[in-house]
């Protein structure tokens, strides 16, 4: 038996201290230990993107980061970002455009699109496609998702001017 390792991190702004086995990945830790089930799990080998979370402000695959590696770091999930209002325009556009059906991919799509718009407020469709290329959606066929990100970008640009 391998002894659990103590870790302390912030999750959505709150300090969390826990004991975890080294083999537990960050998404399992968030879901199983903290009950934050908005972050999903598809493949657990980096291909589908459903497990996307933010680690120190950057999106990562939660299934490809160990929970022990998040020690001393800041993690944000769909729950935290959604509550903060940071995703308001994106969420509204996803609803309006029917950019989700089962919703399994949606939290990760929102986090990934959010990162893109933070870096590039007016991306063209090719840039949106490229940035979302690592996120699978098995329902929508992607067009509506690209539409929604484009609309959210315009909504944000309009709100600023």
């Amino acid at each position: 038996m391998i002894a659990p390792t103590p870790i302390t991190l912030t999750v959505n702004g709150e300090t969390v201290a826990a004991q975890v086995e080294p083999r537990i990945h960050l998404t399992d830790f968030l879901r199983e230990n903290l009950g934050l089930t908005g972050t999903h799990i598809g493949c657990e080998h980096g291909v589908c993107g459903a497990c996307t979370v933010r680690l120190d402000g950057e999106i990562v695959r939660g299934c490809l980061v160990l929970a022990v590696q998040a020690d001393g770091k800041s993690v944000e999930t769909i729950e935290g970002l959604s509550d903060s209002g940071a995703l308001d325009e994106l969420q509204a556009a996803f609803r309006d455009r029917n950019a989700l059906q089962c919703g399994y991919c949606t939290p990760a799509m929102l986090l990934t699109a959010h990162e893109l718009l933070a870096r590039n407020p007016t991306p063209d469709r090719a840039t949106i496609r490229e940035h979302l290329s690592g996120n699978y959606c098995r329902c929508t066929g992607y067009q509506a998702i690209i539409d929604a990100v484009e609309i959210a970008a315009r909504a944000r640009a309009g709100a600023k001017s």
């Binding site: 038996m1 399992d28 657990e44 080998h45 950057e58 490809l64």
Partner: protein, 289 residues
């Protein structure tokens, strides 16, 4: 799937990491970005006793230009390479290639050292190292050694690294005046491993290309240099010379059959890429391919 149990330790320095690898025998492995290692552990394609996390070693990160040489720390992430002005200015081949390596979330973790140590034959980066004439700096229990890229990649996931050695840095000669880079790949979607790709650099001189290095990836068990085709392209460009160089690829490459493409399709795509490369380096219109 879930990884089997393993121990985990953070190394504060390269020396400490080497000691941990030595003590761990064959059962210890380095954890860099984890973007190839953790999938393998989660899928239980491998198991190990100890993971040595080297992500905290600040000395292994960063990009510097010294004289005519670019020095890249092994733990420099793909995302850092993508946005580096030094890489864009002095290694445009690498700048072009890195945009094709995986997806944004993976590029935020994956490192150049981990990528090269992993030595995936479909990866863009080993091919760039060969095309750029890189030197790999390695540290082990008996000190440092330097290995040329051509002697580093030995086969499918095989490199010259011993189990207790760490790749610490990569040195690249900066782009010389008159040199131009070409990079293109065919993949199912942006960011996927390539079916076939070509990394090339050379000196266009009128109708000829001097000092040309052609390196294919996704073809065969490791990145494949094509010296025969490159030699032919030192002659004045003509459709016949291009056809001769395209034919010569069959001698230099060992394309494989797999679920993505047949060997014949790979060779065909390799020839198409060569025409694109020659046209781009010589500044000719794409249509004349």
């Amino acid at each position: 799937m879930k990884a089997a149990a393993f121990n985990y330790a953070r190394a504060a320095s390269v020396d400490e990491a080497v000691q941990m690898l030595v003590r761990g025998g064959g059962g210890a492995k380095l954890l860099a970005g984890g973007q190839s290692l953790l999938p393998a552990l989660n899928l239980r394609l491998m198991s190990l006793d100890l993971l040595v996390d080297i992500t905290g070693i600040a000395a292994l990160r960063g990009i510097r230009v010294e004289g005519g040489t670019l020095k890249i720390g092994a733990m420099t992430r793909h995302a850092d390479l993508l946005t580096s002005p030094e890489i864009a200015a002095h290694a445009p081949l690498l700048a072009k290639a890195i945009a094709h390596v995986a997806h944004p979330a993976i590029r935020n973790r994956g490192t150049i050292g981990g990528n090269l140590a992993h030595a995936d034959p479909a990866s863009e980066l080993p091919a760039c190292m060969l095309a750029l004439g890189a030197t790999l700096v390695i540290q082990g229990p008996s000190g440092q050694r330097r290995v040329q890229a051509a002697d580093f990649f030995l086969g499918l996931y095989q490199t010259a690294l011993a189990p207790d050695e760490i790749l610490i840095a990569i040195e690249l000669p900066a782009l010389a005046s008159g040199e131009r880079a070409f990079f293109h790949e065919y993949a199912r979607r942006m960011g996927d491993y390539a079916i076939v790709g070509l990394a090339a650099q050379g000196k266009p001189a009128g109708d000829r290309i001097d000092a040309l290095r052609l390196v294919y990836f996704g073809v065969g068990e490791r990145a494949g240099s094509c010296p025969a085709a490159a030699r032919i392209l030192q002659q004045r460009h003509s459709p016949a010379i291009l056809a001769e160089a395209q034919a010569a690829l069959a001698a230099d490459l060992q394309p494989q059959n797999d679920h993505q493409a047949s060997a014949a399709m790979r060779l065909h795509l390799a020839r198409t890429l060569l025409a694109r490369c020659v046209n781009e380096l010589l500044g000719r219109a794409e249509a004349s391919a």
